[in-house]
């Protein structure tokens, strides 16, 4: 499924710091390092999962990718287009090809606009001929499993959360984009509805040949659809690997801790690892060296001094951890905790 052609989306060294203003003159006193030097790529037809605790910069990445927020540094290439340097006109063309679905289905639809108009809005924003718009809207509603005759004229408050999220997906897809950014699309839905929406997303991807960036804090949800998963911690990608490999054999201690904290019904599969304690440190003043070291049980001296680069630990697996580094730290990987993941997820 994943072909080795030029990636659809290529992100290099992306950085976004939000200024923190304080004092009577509202001077910039510090920065929240929401996204700090993040690089990844997404191939045509692939689903890249982006997982991490709240506040780790997942949503910021989605908003930066579609330029709702401008990045401070870094490069984003979407096919042949430079997203960061795109002019207003280019950005408009780009947004036809790249769309976003937000987390909160209650806030993401205008309460004063009926479903049909809400979806048609996106078409009309791109000067789509009015007479054809309605048919396109109906087609879109049909695609997400909503009967257009039944739902087209309803208002958002008459719909359930799952139905609203379907409308949001239909709205994002009505312009026939290639890449869909899904920012926690199912996080605010019931478990049973989550499954329906996830299946719908899977079907749509197959049917329309879409590429997704799937953002969630829920490992189950991310693992269900994604081909590859990037784990984020405090604005950094700490591990990036194919889904199966990552779930079966997590390398980074943070990934292991995350997987260990996933509740399971099977007592034999329960994690023997102690769960991760405490909150992530403030992204305003992240720890020196490795950002995870304050909560990492394998923390070494080097972790406080040197920031581990995201590098290939095994074929196709990127990890940012000194346990898997080369040279003098290589011996550390013998006491590698890699087995812990095997136990916990069998």
């Amino acid at each position: 499924m994943i072909n080795s052609q030029k990636p659809l989306l290529d992100v290099k060294n992306l950085r976004k710091y939000f200024p923190v203003r304080s004092g009577p003159l509202r001077r910039v006193s510090a920065h929240v390092k929401a996204v700090d030097d993040v690089s990844f790529d997404v191939k045509q037809g692939e689903i890249l999962g982006l997982v991490g605790e709240s506040g780790c910069g997942k949503s910021t990445i989605a908003r930066v990718l579609i330029r709702l927020i401008d990045p401070d540094a870094g490069e984003i290439h979407f096919q042949d287009m430079d997203v960061v340097k795109a002019s207003g006109r280019e950005m408009k063309a780009l947004r036809r090809r790249m769309q976003i679905v937000f987390q909160d289905p209650w806030a993401s639809l205008n309460p004063r606009m009926n479903i049909q108009d809400a979806i048609a809005f996106n078409l009309l924003a791109h000067q789509f001929p009015k007479k054809d718009a309605l048919e396109k809207v109906w087609e879109g509603l049909d695609n997400v499993g909503l009967n257009p005759a039944q739902f087209g004229l309803r208002y958002p408050h008459e719909l359930s959360g799952g139905q609203r999220q379907r409308v949001n997906i239909a709205r994002a897809l009505v312009l026939d984009p290639q890449l869909l950014l899904l920012d926690e699309p199912v996080s605010s839905l019931d478990k049973s509805i989550q499954a329906q929406v996830l299946n719908l997303l899977g079907e749509l991807r197959e049917a329309l040949g879409l590429t997704y960036i799937f953002i969630s804090h829920d490992l189950h949800v991310v693992g269900y659809l994604s081909d590859r998963v990037a784990v984020m911690y405090l604005g950094k990608v700490v591990e990036l690997a194919e889904t199966n490999e990552l779930y079966n054999k997590p390398l980074h201690p943070y990934t292991q801790a995350l997987l260990g904290s996933v509740p399971t019904m099977n007592p034999h599969q329960r994690s023997t690892q102690p769960p991760l304690t405490g909150d992530p440190p403030s992204p305003i003043a992240p720890p020196s060296g490795c950002r995870f070291r304050t909560r990492c049980k394998h923390a070494m001296e080097v972790c406080a001094q040197v920031e581990p680069p995201l590098q290939e630990a095994e074929a196709g697996r990127l990890v940012a951890c000194h346990l898997y580094g080369e040279g003098e730290h290589a011996n550390a990987s013998e006491s590698s905790p890699a087995g812990a993941g095997d136990e916990s997820l069998g």
Partner: protein, 302 residues
Amino acid sequence: MSEEIREEAQVRSRVLEGLDLPKPMAYWHQVWWRFRKDKIGLASAGIIVIVVLLSVLAPWISPYAMDYGPVSNRLANPFSEGHILGTDEQGRDMVTRLLHGGRNSLIAGVVPVFIAFTIGTLLGIIAGFAGSNLNTLIMRIVDIFYAFPAILLAIAIAGALGPGLSNTLIALSVVYTPRVIRIAESVTVQAKGFDFVEAARASGASDIHIIRSHILPNVLSPVLVYNSTLVSISILAAAGLGFLGLGIAAPHAEWGRMLNDLRQSIYVNTWVPILPGVAIFITAMAFNLVSDAVRDAMDVRL
């Protein structure tokens, strides 16, 4: 693979085309449809129409000339001979005075509010949507106006421009516009933060398109409600200016001015001085109720 699904969707939507579907009602059509069901709002709208008609037709339907009145017959009770609502402190017929007064009062009540509504909403949305420097510029200017009490500011402006109805209108417009700007700005800033506005931006829609479809409908209802309360305040403020000699000049009638003039006579005749107050009350109340009804009708959730 995707081609097949697309084709199927095409076919399916063609099937749908054949179905007899309800035609989408235009937004304002729906608002009117909901407004019609609100009996109180409808009755209030009727009152406003009647008041406006009576005022417009005042010169033709008044029983006496606007400034005719023998002083010998002053402060006659209502239902006295020839004067259904009695006479004022100069013996002028109250029906005539109230009808003529309605013209000026309605103009003084509605025109400044309309000007404030138009300019205030526009500037408020611009300030709220643009943010940063433009917002600071507009809102700090608004703050300057806020530093003066409303009526003092109106007196100062009217005093500088000189007496007369048009100067009263200008003075009151200047007083009310900053208030509307502030409300429109705060609602716009709030609406701008909603995900659906973000989604609209992400869809590539232009700012004007977003403002028209997403911001304006959400800003309009709180602004409309505020403006409707301003109508009655504006009628009274115009009366206050008239009292100070900055409003409408003497022989001309105006409800607020009539109220002020008759105030001293309230111990001589209780009923006549109440009448202009009743006229102001009914008109102001009708405006408030209509605006409540319009706000409810504009809210699709109700």
